[in-house]
Amino acid sequence: MSESEGYRNEAEAEKLHEPRGVPLHNVHRHDVLVVGAGLAALSGALEAAKIGDVGVVTKLFPTRSHSGAAQGGIAASLANQEEDHWEWHMFDTVKGSDYLGDQDAIEILVREASSVVRGFEHMGCPFSRTEGGRLAQRKFGGHTKDFGKGGPVLRACYAADRTGHVLLHTLWEQCVKHQVRFYSEYLALSLIVKDKVCRGIVALDMATGEVHIFHARAVLLGTGGYGRVFSITSNSFANTGDGLGLAMRVGIPLEDMEFVQFHPTGLYPHGILITEGARGEGGYLVNDEGERFMEKYAPEKMELAPRDVISRAIQTEINEGRGIGGKGYVNLDVRHLGAEKIKERLPQIAEVVSKFAGVDVNEAPIPIQPTAHYSMGGIPTDLDCRVLADGKGEVLKGLFAAGECACVSVHGANRLGTNSLLEAALYGRRAGLALAREVKGLPFNEMPEEVAEQDLKMLERLLGAKGEEKVADLRKRLQEEMMAKCGVFRNEKDLNSLLETVKDCQERYRNIGIKDRSRCFNTEVVEAIEFGYQLDFTEAIVAGAINRKESRGAHARTDFKERDDTNWLKHTLALKIEEGIRFDYKPVTITRFKPKARVY
């Protein structure tokens, strides 16, 4: 513990240059420093804590992380209730990814899934049970029997509709037990990287406004997704993709950023998630003319077609003026299920809809629209979550990433429901295990002399910023245009104009004004910093979407409607350079399943 409290003894302190502008008591040292406290970060922290001293820097108190909002379940082919095999799970995941997922990574995901889920049970996680006392499992979109030839399979383990909540709380409890040191409400400002070695991070203690330096043998990023660059999203306010900004700023290319999942049923107008279950139980989608429009798009599967298909159908209806009252939503109708069934199977939905839309689902249909939900792309890593400096083979020493901010690529162009909790927990754990193996062999590398200088300057600038532009206005403009032009459907013309907007916002961002001058909990400054990250990686999303001239998974181009395996069966790597984004590519790892047409 003493070591983790900072540089207590003089000898330790002397090894470090007195950082300019940061008092020594704000300099901390940990074997492993984890950024984030969601499922991925805490899974890593817990494993690493078994061998060394771990500090966790998180902008939210751990249990408030977005992982806790996940409802449906976590996939594992336990076969507790019916036959299932990891090979089937693998096939579904590969097909779901539109063959862009790396099959070596996917194989690890599906093979280790059972041990991860059981591991949670062993830590006391209160999963729902079968009559026989085993972990209960439920069906979820895209998870099938017999390599897609059979019907839906019972594969998702769950705790009612609070799966993310129980997993996250269980992990936090275990981290407490293993004496992980938490720095809650600290915002990571930059990675300390020099000569391709990560030496720690700089962070802002939001409560005091002071800058802290965290010196570490290795850093693990688990900062989650970025749904908040869209105006309509199922994501938390905190999901601003900070980790992507941090990585980009130290010259790491981002992988497959053009792939963003839109969930078909977000509650209008905010986009709060209405789970797939509502349609699974038999809900209808209806347009302004009272027509069950899925007939036109997927006559066989109707409302149970895959997520991307339904999102495209809904968006088409809205775009062609058949949204309810000409507005930006259609209706999800569950009234015909009857009050009894709604109460038994969809209680949470009834509650959410009544609380947030003021609608009684027994009396009126639910207004819904596609909502930005999940980011498939992210920081490129190898199979042990080591961050790749060039996105391909070269490891950036001392830096790891896992969860939604990373891209080992298990989801490729589109992820299946229940696979992301699994990815976060499983690859987070793999990162932790790799750290546990390697960290004692890694030195505390020397801190660069100018450490934290940039961050201090930036803070001073923001605290006194008197410009005319307002973050809220810029953000609103960016979010709305992202939704309109880089949403479910995309085309070159819109994307080009969007890229101009992004650049214009970047330009205007230099001239923002901040009203709050206090250091204590300056949430206005925090929002401005987060928006800075968003502006950086949004450019990679948009440029990537322009660059990829095909339609694959969640990336649907109206001007390039087909999937093009000849030219585009490859990962995009987007590197930020002076003039914009420079693209590079790497091949997809294909082992068991050769690409085929993706029909359901």
């Binding site: 939210l60 249990t63 992380s65 049970e121 209160p126 107008p269 009203k515 909990f521 206005e524």
Partner: protein, 233 residues
């Protein structure tokens, strides 16, 4: 729809004590108190500070006192309030800035009661522990806590005794005591059997009134009391 929001403001770097500020806003249909706060922060006064994240009542960040009772701002529809309402920070926790209070007492109490699964032997190597659906059901109403602090900050026993463990901690204790798999029952009960523990609950039910997740800490406390007494006779 027009609303007048009165917010208790406090900036430790400028103010000696908190003061009220009034804002009138034009709200859209379906807005919650959090939407109103955002409107004020983003377009009126950027210095207004509060915690928020998930905006649908699951992360527990945004508990505050709205018209004299503790609730989640993100879940409270404006339509359920009068056209003038008051927003203040949670009771009896140190106000840091505006609606942000020091949650440390809430967290510390949780850490005191061993808030983690306790097992004596190793788990089965290749499968999960078994637990019947009935045993699992006993955890309903206990495991859903989002640690928002609404209950404990509304509790007169906590107001009177800052060291009182508080309803949220007892809920957590009972979440494990009621778990058929947990083997730490005896040591946990010991931790709550003291003058800052269970016996300080006066069945006032403020915690139950305040819980935004409709949980019942008093029920957990009563169950724990019975477990303690039952164990001794």
């Amino acid at each position: 729809m027009k609303y007048t929001v009165t917010i208790l403001r406090f900036n430790p770097e400028q103010d000696e004590k908190p003061h009220q500020e009034r804002y009138s806003i034009e709200a859209q249909e379906g807005w919650t108190v959090l939407d109103a706060l955002n409107e004020i922060k983003w377009y009126r006064d950027g210095s207004l500070s509060y915690r928020r994240s998930c905006r649908h009542g699951i992360c527990g960040s945004c508990a505050m006192t709205i018209d004299g009772v503790n609730r989640l701002a993100c879940e409270t529809q404006l339509a359920t309030l009068k056209s003038e309402f008051v927003v203040e920070p949670l009771r009896h926790l140190r106000v840091i800035k505006d609606l942000i209070v020091d949650m440390e007492p809430i967290y510390t109490k949780l850490l005191e009661i061993k808030p983690y699964f306790i097992e004596k032997g190793p788990p089965p190597s290749d499968h999960e522990r078994l637990q019947s659906p009935e045993e699992n059901k006993k955890l309903d109403g206990l495991y859903e806590c989002i640690i928002c602090g609404s209950c404990t900050s509304s509790c007169p026993s906590f107001w009177a005794d800052g060291e009182y463990l508080g309803p949220h901690a007892f809920l957590k204790v009972n979440r494990f005591v009621a778990d058929s798999r947990d083997e730490g029952k005896a040591e946990r009960l010991k931790l709550v059997d003291n003058r800052h523990g269970l016996w300080r609950c006066h069945t006032i039910f403020n915690c139950v009134e305040a819980c935004p997740k409709s949980l019942n800490p008093t029920k957990a406390i009563s169950a724990l009391k019975r477990a303690l007494v039952g164990g001794q006779f």
